[in-house]
């Protein structure tokens, strides 16, 4: 089996969860990966300080799409404050594959968007 393109990564890539747009939504952000021109946006609906619902949209590689899909399942219902504090390690661990330096931004693009939407800080997650 391939180290990077594991079954569940390809499964999330081909059938991403929580993809599309959310209307109405309370928070949003759109991020680009300057390396490859990929873009990923997020819409978030908030209720009682929690992420009630969210959707990702855009286009990207298997790593960035699977990463967004996998993260979306964890983010639903998460405390907004906690979501704003998520770091790169959280995402890489959740993804569960060895991510090389060049693919790191692919894996972190969705978290960059989520953090941007929640905190207004659109720096790359560290």
């Amino acid at each position: 089996m391939d180290d990077l393109y594991r079954d569940y990564i390809l499964e999330h890539y081909k059938r991403p969860r929580n993809f599309g747009e959310l209307a109405p939504h309370d928070l949003e952000a759109l991020e680009h990966n300057p390396l490859c021109g990929d873009e990923l946006g997020v819409h978030i609906r908030v209720k009682d300080g929690r992420i009630e619902d969210l959707r990702f949209h855009g286009h990207g590689c298997a790593i960035s799409q699977a990463s967004a899909s996998i993260a979306s399942e964890e983010l639903k219902g998460m405390d907004l404050e906690r979501a704003g504090e998520l770091d790169a390690d959280w995402m890489i661990e959740l993804l569960g594959i060895p991510v090389s330096a060049t693919r790191r931004k692919c894996a972190l693009l969705n978290l960059k968007a989520v953090r941007g939407a929640v905190t207004g800080d659109n720096a790359w997650p560290s």
């Binding site: 391939d2 390809l10 490859c36 298997a62 790593i63």
Partner: protein, 412 residues
């Protein structure tokens, strides 16, 4: 027995990097559009210069400095003659990006103003786009684009229509597109541009490494290219300009070497080409580039072009065997340089490059510094395989095998 493509060269052994393996596999390098590998003769020339002839150029009276001067001057003469240019109008820059910026600053800021237009094309690399965007923004001029048609080509009629508007001061375009591979009809275009009273700048970064370039026949006012894509070192590029234009232009970068004399409040410029070479130039790199053009000259640029054309023909035929693969750019190998940009349905280009790497094959994926073109093509990115003099049919076979294996991994 690997297939041998008729008309192709067999010079891989001249390039020491191909002796190494990566991940236990032989190196299959199909990214020459990004940078070329270097023959032993270039590596040796640069090392020998540093080992035995290193001194700063200009004004040294000792024998070693004169050797360095002679080596640098000889490199310039070789590079100029390689493309049919003159040494005094052949300026060494850092790369083609600096060559284009030089013209945008020195010529552009003196000659482009409100109500004027700069015309470029939708297929330009960011290096031949952003400097013009900056110039037009600063001077309140208009930046217009020649469209790329569905075949990936420009239209001479559209060029005529743009020129007829009467406001175009300069037209900048690639000789060969780094994404589409399109070979633009440079001589036809520069003749029209000249007749309309505008200037032309041609980005030859992708052309010089793979075809015979004759500046006189092409007729461009400015022609830039870069050493590292033409088997030479990084850090050295070239700008050729028409002498009377270069004479009239103010310098781009200022400092040492480019002055005739400096007073506390005034300065007079050095003669061409030194006026445009401020500071210590890339001496060893220029010497390396001189060796690179020697190598290419010995191969013969007609043979190099025949090699690129036949390998590209083979590559296009083999890529067509991959289900879901779509190549962008002109379908005829005669009208394109040695590269193929493509997409594969169901696999993102980044993953295509990653999967190719599984087979030891180096290809590039992304927007290739041509984001506006990507939008025209309706894609976010493509994968690109580009060939050099050292590639052979077995390299193309390895690419196709890796792509087919990648489709298996993606269960397509």
């Amino acid at each position: 027995m690997p297939q041998v493509v008729e008309g192709s060269l067999a010079v891989k052994a001249d390039f020491p990097i191909f002796a190494r393996q990566i991940g236990g596999r032989r190196l299959v390098y199909l990214d020459s559009g990004a940078t070329s590998q270097k023959p032993q003769s270039v590596i040796d020339a640069q090392a020998e210069h540093l080992r035995s002839h290193n001194a700063n150029v200009h004004r040294g009276v000792y024998a070693l400095a004169q050797e360095a001067d002679a080596a640098y001057d000889q490199a310039r003469r070789k590079v100029a003659s390689f493309v049919g240019g003159q040494p005094q109008t052949t300026i060494f820059t850092k790369n083609v990006t600096e060559a284009i910026n030089l013209v945008a600053y020195s010529w552009g800021r003196a000659n482009v103003g409100a109500g004027d237009a700069v015309l470029i094309t939708q297929m330009e690399h960011h290096a031949n786009l952003v400097p013009w965007q900056m110039l037009c923004r600063e001077r309140s001029a208009e930046l217009r684009y020649l469209e790329v048609d569905e075949r990936g080509e420009l239209s001479l009629e559209a060029l005529d229509r743009e020129l007829a508007r009467g406001d175009v001061k300069l037209v900048a375009f690639a000789h060969v597109s780094n994404v589409l591979g399109t070979i633009n009809p440079v001589a036809e275009m520069t003749a029209r541009i000249r007749a309309a009273g505008a200037l032309s700048l041609v980005d030859g970064a992708q052309a010089v490494p793979q075809m015979s370039v004759d500046l006189q026949a092409l007729g461009a006012d400015f022609y830039g290219w870069t050493g590292h894509k033409a088997l030479g070192p990084t850090g050295v590029g070239v700008l050729h300009g028409r002498e009377e234009l270069l004479e009239q232009m103010e310098p781009f970068l200022t400092g040492g070497d480019m002055i005739a004399s400096v007073d506390f409040q005034s300065v007079s410029w050095n003669e061409l080409p030194y006026k445009f070479e401020a500071g210590t130039p890339p001496i060893a790199e220029a010497v390396g580039l001189g060796a690179a053009v020697d190598y290419l000259t010995a191969l013969g640029m007609e043979r190099v072009r025949a090699h690129e054309r036949s390998l590209t023909t083979y590559m296009l035929a083999r890529l067509a065997e991959v289900p879901g693969l779509r190549v962008v750019g002109p379908p005829e190998p005669d009208r394109r340089g040695g590269l193929a940009s493509f997409t594969i349905e169901g696999i993102h280009p980044h993953d295509v490059a990653e999967l190719a790497d599984r087979g030891g094959v180096c290809i590039r994926a992304g927007h290739h510094c041509a984001q506006p073109l990507m939008r025209c093509l309706g894609v976010g990115a493509t994968a690109r395989a580009s060939v050099g003099v050292y590639n052979d049919a077995a390299d193309i076979d390895a690419l196709v095998e890796a792509l087919l294996a990648g489709r298996e991994i993606f269960e397509l």
